[in-house]
């Protein structure tokens, strides 16, 4: 033969080229599925593998616990707990830092290094410089050094044990404990104002009065250890020394944030791609069904010429295969780009000592295979029908579709609809499955827009409740330990402080029957104005003496209702078990809140009123003075500038939401175009003769367009209510997937969100069908009888 390519393959390629716009519309939907699978599954695997490798290499501990002050001699007993493989005791504490060039106080988490050698657990990676060797040397976590422009040899000062000391930076580290580094009370990582300081054990002991003692413990378990039993044993041993309750990796802050991210990626990988693959399969089925109908005589001919059923079947499957190839190619390109963008985002939020850009080749393989499987599945029916077509039957023209008068027809004639309208309605009911599937596809597009834009509504509610209703203070000053109420007078004298309220934070284990949860309990004065608890209806809720108010999520976890009694074992304050009445439940989006009356609690503890934090509102003009003053206050463990936190939270969120909305709207438009464009092209092909005859009969262009546009737009309109329903469901399941002990997202969907989702989809549908409609204008009334789609 002259050329290597077979004539039937050349037909394949020409058919594909002729169908390019339709094929592209499908390929783009398919590409969405491939790209999302690639990104979510690829990043899920990459993040998980990177984390696992990091944890293993640097011996990340399995159990963590803080305690007030335990003697080093206790370590022998702790190490003998069955299942404990290794143990690392440290001194930990928060200090206020004065970093040159930083206009506000930063908080440093001090961690002691062993006297000799490296820590056995949570081994830090040295990134530059060396470990500290003298008492006033420290190493810091690399992000803190980078964002403050600190280099080995640089100096900054810290309040250590009430005295301002100058510390010299010797090196930078990264630790598996701080992949996600969140300061106390912060909502977002801020590497400028929160850093980890590793210092020699002796220096830390002097700073926190811990000679011969420790207050922070990490344990590594062996393979056969039962974590709950180890936790109990550790708690029992530490009980006399003010143990604050041992917890596993699932409550370790950095780890649980990465867990949440991994969980999210995984559910994204499981939920979203199948939707796109299903839509693509449907579109392929629709388009190929039409092509096989049009090519009946060619199929018959090929069979008459001696092509086998299998060859014919493969011929049409390959047409779908070409669409799949385009989809996979685009999907891989976009997916790779998205994965890269995502890993850049991770680099910003997560501190790993090595890169996590890599998407495994099997993920590429899997996404490609799934795309091909989806299109093959969609094509299978038509391809098999083509293969089954008897060669003799194929030679005859297809019988005109049979119309029967139905109730709908009777209704239509009763309603005296115009003929074009009747044509639209009849065609919708003639292909009920196709109409239903198209409407379903379009409704998924509506749902996709809603699934992203509702987040704005939800976060507005969340931000309003958390920041503007409940926590209205500008800053929280955290004291190193519980302090007599008189400290508030000192705080009140600080520059710029306007309103001022004290409060206590405690760690307690709440128990109800077999359920228990380690939480932080807030004790407040009645009638406070800055940090309030707000019920779902917006009313201020306060705990009365003897009572406790819980967030609804916490109550649910403990199976508690209003009127039940709960046992609270306080690990701070005066340790002991107290029974309290649940007097109210509140809806909250951050953490697991529990609230008691401060005077009542101090009564239980049998002590004079103390506070652990001060909530303040500030005069903006005095901020620089305030920051300068805060850097010098002894006994201050941390300062939490809420106004700034709010701003950066809102900025980050709105940036993320913008990205997400853009992605989802793009997706929705692609789906809509895929369905509406292909649908209109098929109608056009089925109706070319009909529409041309109408034109010959004297119908105007407008009338004829109305038929074409009307059917698609009617379907799109019918899809809206269903889309809203699915969107609502999707939004609900997203909020469910997002929610963890750390935070929850309320399900709020404003009417504007429904409307804009509909507008996007209706607009895209109209655009697609108008592109097809243009072909009507160029319709050559004579030659139309010969046109193919």
């Amino acid at each position: 033969m002259v050329s290597a390519m077979h004539a039937i393959d050349r037909k394949l390629i020409r058919d594909f080229r002729r169908l390019w716009a339709q094929a592209l519309a499908i390929a783009l939907v398919l590409a969405c599925g491939v790209a999302i699978l690639l990104t979510s599954l690829g990043m899920y695997r990459a993040l998980e593998e990177t984390r696992t490798a990091y944890y293993e290499r640097n011996r990340f501990a399995d159990v963590f616990v803080s305690t007030r002050r335990a003697p080093l001699s206790l370590l022998r007993e702790l190490g003998q707990i069955s299942g404990v493989q290794a143990i690392e005791a440290r001194i930990a504490g928060d200090v206020i830092l004065d970093v040159p060039g930083l206009d506000k106080a930063a908080v440093g988490r001090v961690l002691s290094l062993p006297e000799v050698g490296q820590p056995v657990l949570n081994v830090p990676v040295l990134r530059s410089g060396r470990l500290p060797e003298t008492p006033f040397e420290v190493a810091v976590n690399e992000p803190f050094a980078l964002s403050n422009g600190l280099q080995p040899g640089d100096q900054f000062s810290a309040n250590l044990n009430g005295r301002k000391r100058v510390l010299t930076l010797t090196g930078t580290l990264l630790s598996p404990e701080f992949i996600y580094t969140l300061g106390p009370g912060a909502m977002m990582p801020d590497n400028r104002t929160f850093g980890i300081l590793w210092m020699q054990r002796a220096a830390a002991a002097a700073a926190f009065d811990m000679e011969g003692a420790f207050n922070d413990l990490s344990l590594k378990l062996d393979l056969y250890a039962q974590e709950p039993e180890v936790l109990d044993a550790v708690d029992t041993l530490l009980e006399p020394y003010g143990g604050l309750g041992a917890y596993g990796r699932n409550q370790q802050l950095s780890n649980s944030f990465i867990d949440a991210e991994i969980k999210q990626l995984r559910s994204m990988a499981v939920v979203l791609p199948p939707v796109f693959f299903a839509i693509s399969a449907f579109l392929v089925a629709m388009v190929l069904g039409r092509i096989v109908t049009l090519e009946r005589s060619e199929i018959g001919l090929l069979k008459a010429l001696g092509y086998s059923d299998v060859e014919i079947c493969i011929h049409y499957l390959m047409l779908a295969g070409l669409i799949a190839l385009c989809g996979v190619a685009i999907g891989w390109a976009v997916g790779t780009w998205l994965a890269r963008g995502m890993s850049q985002l991770y680099v910003e939020f997560f501190d790993f000592p090595f890169l996590i850009f890599h998407v495994s080749s099997w993920v590429y393989g899997l996404s490609g295979a799934m795309a091909i499987a989806a299109t093959t599945f969609g094509a299978a029916r038509s391809a098999l029908a083509a293969a089954r077509l008897s060669p003799a039957v194929a030679m005859q023209p297809p019988a005109p579709p049979r119309f029967r008068r139905t109730l709908i027809d009777a209704a239509m004639s009763w309603a005296r609809l115009s003929q074009p309208t009747v044509m639209i309605l009849r065609s919708l009911t003639r292909w009920p499955l196709r109409s239903a599937m198209s409407a379903l596809g379009l409704s998924l597009a509506v749902a996709a827009v809603m699934a992203s834009s509702f987040i704005t509504d939800s976060l507005d509610t969340l931000i309003d409740q958390a920041f503007y209703q409940s926590n209205r203070q500008d800053a929280v000053l955290v004291f190193a330990k519980a302090t007599p109420l008189s400290v508030l007078e000192d705080v009140g004298r600080l520059p710029g402080v306007m309103q001022l309220e004290g409060q206590q934070y405690h760690v307690a284990v709440l128990r109800h029957g077999q359920f228990e949860k380690r939480v932080s309990v807030e004790a407040r004065f009645p009638g406070v104005d800055l940090s309030r608890v707000i019920s779902a209806t917006g009313a201020v809720v306060e705990a009365s003496a003897g009572g406790i108010v819980l967030s609804d999520v916490l109550a649910e976890q403990l199976h508690l209702r209003v009127g039940d009694m709960v046992e609270a074992e306080f690990l701070t304050g005066k340790r002991g078990r107290y029974r309290m009445l649940v007097t109210g439940l509140v809806k909250q989006y951050f953490g697991l809140g529990a609230y008691v009356d401060l005077a009542y609690l101090d009564g239980l503890f049998g002590r004079a009123t103390e506070v652990t934090v001060a909530n303040v509102t500030l005069d903006d003009a005095a901020l620089p003075d305030l920051h300068a003053a805060l850097k010098g206050i002894p006994n201050l463990a941390a300062t939490n500038m809420l106004t700034e936190a709010r701003r950066s939270f809102e900025d980050t969120i709105s940036q993320n939401v913008t990205i997400m909305t853009t992605v989802y709207i793009t997706i929705a438009v692609l789906i809509t175009v895929g369905i509406a464009y292909n649908g209109a092209r098929i109608q056009m092909s089925e109706r070319a003769r009909e529409l041309a005859s109408l034109r010959i009969l004297g119908f105007t262009r407008w009338h004829v367009s109305y038929i074409l546009v009307g059917e698609t737009m009617l379907l799109a309109l019918l899809a809206q209510p269903l889309g809203w329903g699915i969107g609502h469901l999707l939004a609900w399941s997203m909020t469910a997937a997002f929610s963890s002990d750390l935070y929850r997202i309320p399900l709020v969907i404003k009417p504007a969100t429904y409307a804009s989702a509909s507008l996007v989809v209706l607009g895209a549908a109209l655009g697609s069908v108008l592109i097809v409609r243009r072909r009507l204008d160029n319709l050559d009334l004579v030659s139309v009888m010969k046109t193919r789609e």
């Binding site: 001919l301 060669p391 010969k786």
Partner: protein
């Protein structure tokens, strides 16, 4: 009814039998309505002959041709191609049979619109056992200069000649033509007939042509008349007229 002079198939001096049918019936059942398209057809076709099937519309000509060509199954009766029985063959064997032995020409050309003349012919040469080059087949029907044109760029007669080139390119033993001139005017029709006749002459291809056009019978070796699913008459033509002398 037996068609044609009865000749023992084994005799070396007599023409060899290519097709033999025995009591072939074909009933189409479309829902309630049953149409008896063939109602006991006994026929023999001989190697190298040019046979014309004549008959009114709906008399079953196409149905018979489709059965001979392995496109369709009989309802009852038997059909042999040489010593092989076609009735009873599965779809896979019928596909082989079509691929290896039969060339088809249809009334509406049935070219693949997205392929050029040459490529339409290559559709066959790609799968046939011992094809002639597509270019040669097109040359035989006088279309060597239109090889790279698409069907939409050719006249009806030209398209039909491409279809004939496609049918003969595999060098089939049998050529089955269903109203090859049905859509053509007299002049182009004659060109098509000349092409068919030339092939029959040169290669000795058994050729069966269905037509409504009684004039065409003048070029046939035998004329088989159909009516209501039966063969009503078989005439042997002793004086052939060349296609060029036929007009309508």
């Amino acid at each position: 009814m037996t068609a044609g002079p009865s000749m023992p198939a084994t005799s070396p001096t007599e023409p060899r039998i290519v097709f033999r049918t025995e009591g072939v019936t074909k009933v189409f059942a479309n829902g309630e309505v049953k149409v008896r398209a063939l109602d006991g057809v006994d026929l023999e076709l001989f190697s190298g002959e040019f046979a014309v099937l004549l008959g009114p519309s709906g008399s079953g000509k196409s149905t018979l041709l489709n059965i001979l060509g392995g496109l369709d199954h009989v309802t009852s009766g038997r059909v042999w191609f040489r010593d092989t029985e076609l009735t009873g063959m599965g779809d896979r064997e019928l596909t082989r049979y079509r691929r290896d032995h039969v060339g088809f020409v249809f009334q509406f050309y049935n070219l693949v619109a997205s392929l050029t003349a040459r490529e339409n012919v290559q559709l066959v040469t790609d799968v046939a056992a011992k094809p002639m080059p597509a270019e040669e087949a097109l040359d035989l029907v006088g279309l060597a200069h239109r090889m790279d044109h698409f069907p939409s760029q050719m006249s009806g007669g030209e398209q039909q000649r491409v279809a004939i080139a496609r049918a003969i390119a595999k060098q089939p033993e049998i050529l089955l033509c269903d109203e090859p001139t049905g859509a053509l005017d007299s002049k182009t029709g004659v060109q098509v007939l000349e092409a068919l006749h030339g092939i029959n002459d040169r290669f000795g291809t058994t050729t069966v042509v269905i037509t409504h056009n009684a004039e065409i019978r003048r070029m046939a070796d035998r004329v088989i008349r159909f009516h209501d699913g039966h063969i009503v008459a078989v005439e042997v033509n002793t004086e052939h007229v060349p296609p060029s002398q036929i007009t309508w």
